[in-house]
């Protein structure tokens, strides 16, 4: 039966039989396939002519296609097609689309931007994108910061000042927090006294006797805390020295400690080791002036701007 079937086939086979009757057709390629194949070859030749393609010696064929863009100096530049020129042209388009907003941001001062409903809407969305990419890794998505590392931007307590100008200054130039390690200068009793005094400033249960001697030390030349934190312990924003009276903590994890003695221990350890890690990178060279302006208003409007 199968023998007969095979003989009645008119198509060519490979001439080999497996298992007695298994054979393989040897059909020519479909015509549509062959012609598509030829078309792809023609296409590739056209492609070579338009785009950079064949290497020749120490250079290469640049192709006949070109791209025109406007450079930073405002000159029109025409280049052979390449991805870098394409980027320049695409950036021109992107800038054109952003221009209505960014030129307004550049022309207005901070208060005007915050007041203008359209501009402040732009600042909220563009600022959020900028903040997420550049600021959130440290200050967190909502700007709440991380105790012990990066300050909260949503409260009204500012290390370096919360006015538009000060926030702008911080963004452009960056900051570096520093407090000497008093563990090398003061003895354990003195440090304990200071810690109790600092605790007393924000209403933490403390030893009144120790706090009283701590108060004396605070303004003495021995510890000289008042140099930076001032006599009243309200801090100096020009030095980034925090206000110690406002119950807001960055370096000592006071809120994280439950018992008063642990809170005082946290303050003590900050006095002992000092602070040498409050580094904020400078964004002046990484971001454009308009982007920094947007971020300034965004951070100011996070809740704590002054």
């Amino acid at each position: 039966m199968s023998e007969q079937n095979l003989q009645s086939q008119t198509v060519q086979t490979t001439g080999h039989a497996w298992d007695g009757d298994l054979q393989e057709f040897n059909n020519p390629l479909p015509t549509w396939w062959v012609y598509t194949f030829y078309v792809t070859i023609v296409f590739s030749i056209v492609y070579w002519l338009i785009y950079p393609s064949w290497p020749i010696g120490k250079s290469f064929l640049t192709g006949f296609s070109d791209i025109t863009y406007v450079n930073k100096a405002g000159e029109t530049v025409t280049s052979h097609w390449n991805t870098r020129a394409l980027l320049m042209a695409d950036l021109n388009k992107a800038e054109e689309m952003q221009k209505p907003y960014f030129s307004k941001v550049a022309a207005n001062d901070f208060e005007q931007i915050a007041k203008d409903p359209e501009l402040s809407g732009f600042v909220l969305s563009a600022g959020k994108a900028l903040f997420t990419e550049n600021c959130a890794p440290c200050h967190q998505q909502g700007g709440q910061g991380v105790i012990g590392f990066f300050p909260n931007l949503t409260d009204d307590d500012w290390l370096y000042g919360g006015s538009y100008d000060k926030i702008h200054e911080t963004l452009v130039n960056g900051r570096r927090g520093y407090m000497p390690a008093f563990g090398e200068v003061l003895n354990a009793g003195e440090i304990d006294a200071l810690a109790n005094y600092v605790a007393s400033l924000s209403g933490i249960a403390h030893d009144a006797g120790k706090a009283a001697s701590g108060r004396v030390l605070f303004t003495s030349e021995t510890a000289a805390c008042y140099y930076c934190h001032t006599d009243s312990a309200k801090g100096r924003q020009d030095m980034g020295a925090p206000n110690l009276t406002d119950k807001i903590w960055l370096w000592a994890d006071v809120p994280g400690a439950e018992k008063a003695e642990d809170k005082i221990a946290a303050i003590r350890s900050t006095i002992i080791t000092g602070v040498n890690k409050g580094v904020m990178p400078a964004w002046g060279e990484r971001l454009s002036p308009e982007q920094i302006k947007v971020l300034t208003v965004y951070v100011h409007e996070l809740g704590g701007g002054k």
């Binding site: 290497p55 870098r84 980027l87 590392f149 990178p281």
Partner: protein, 249 residues
């Protein structure tokens, strides 16, 4: 004229098929890769670009970056697209990885591109983020690397530099090479590239930078953070003509 070619010849001769397959595949490599070694513009030679090799400490950091497999999730290649420019900064140049052997361009981004991460975050952030990424970025899926605070093995730094020198990185062994580096990179950088002083330079840079925030000893963290902080910072793009970069492609 009829060419009497039969593809059965190839299909029924496995040796011939193997040879011809290899020839067909190698054409792709020969056409796309080999010419780049001869084309002058492959590595941009544009005024203002003066990329230097890594210092001994940065080099050890790069080796740890490779050891920990950072490249499997992080690329170091900012492509010339608008979105990448806006997020990561200027597109990467071939010149910027000319001393990388092997280059760390990567092919997959589970985490963000790191080509210009240098200077973007503080040392403190990097240290905390490497030890416990989720303490800094809650949604991160990056593994913890707590062991990076261990002391750095400095014993083979000279050999590591010699190996890279053998493949063309201008670390200097002889006085003549050192002087050539002074001319090319300036005295300060040239001193860092001298193999005989590698260990001293490594320790000095780690102590000066105190990248891991811990003054005791040189840790692997010191090296890795030093490396991360130099990524993408060697070219000052305010001093490079953007049009020249376009012309060099």
């Amino acid at each position: 004229m009829r060419i009497n070619f039969k593809h059965e010849w190839i299909e029924t001769n496995i040796g011939l098929m193997l040879v011809l397959t290899m020839l067909a595949i190698s054409v792709g490599g020969l056409v796309e890769i080999a010419p780049l070694f001869f084309i002058k513009k492959t590595v941009e030679n544009v005024e203002g670009i003066n990329v230097r090799p890594y210092t001994p400490l940065e080099l050890r950091g790069r080796d740890i970056y490779i050891r920990e497999g950072c490249y499997t999730c992080h690329s170091q290649m900012i492509r010339p697209f608008v979105d990448e420019k806006l997020r990561y900064g200027h597109y990467s140049l071939a010149a910027e990885s000319q001393y990388d052997h092997p280059f760390q361009w990567g092919s997959k981004r589970t985490g963000p591109d790191l080509a210009r991460v240098g200077g973007k975050y503080s040392n403190e952030w990097h240290v905390q983020h490497l030890i416990a990424p989720r303490s800094m970025v809650p949604e991160s899926v990056m593994p913890n690397y707590p062991w990076l605070m261990q002391l750095l093995d400095q014993s083979d730094i000279a050999n590591r530099m010699k190996a890279l020198r053998a493949v063309g990185v201008p670390y200097s062994l002889t006085e003549a090479e050192r002087e050539a580096n002074v001319k090319k990179f300036g005295a300060e950088v040239a001193a860092m590239l001298h193999i005989a002083d590698a260990k001293k330079n490594l320790v000095e840079q780690a102590n000066l930078g105190n990248y891991d925030g811990d003054r005791a000893g040189v840790s692997e963290m010191d090296a890795l953070v030093a490396y991360l902080q130099v990524l993408g910072t060697m070219v000052d793009f305010t001093k490079v003509d953007a049009d020249e970069l376009v012309r060099s492609r």
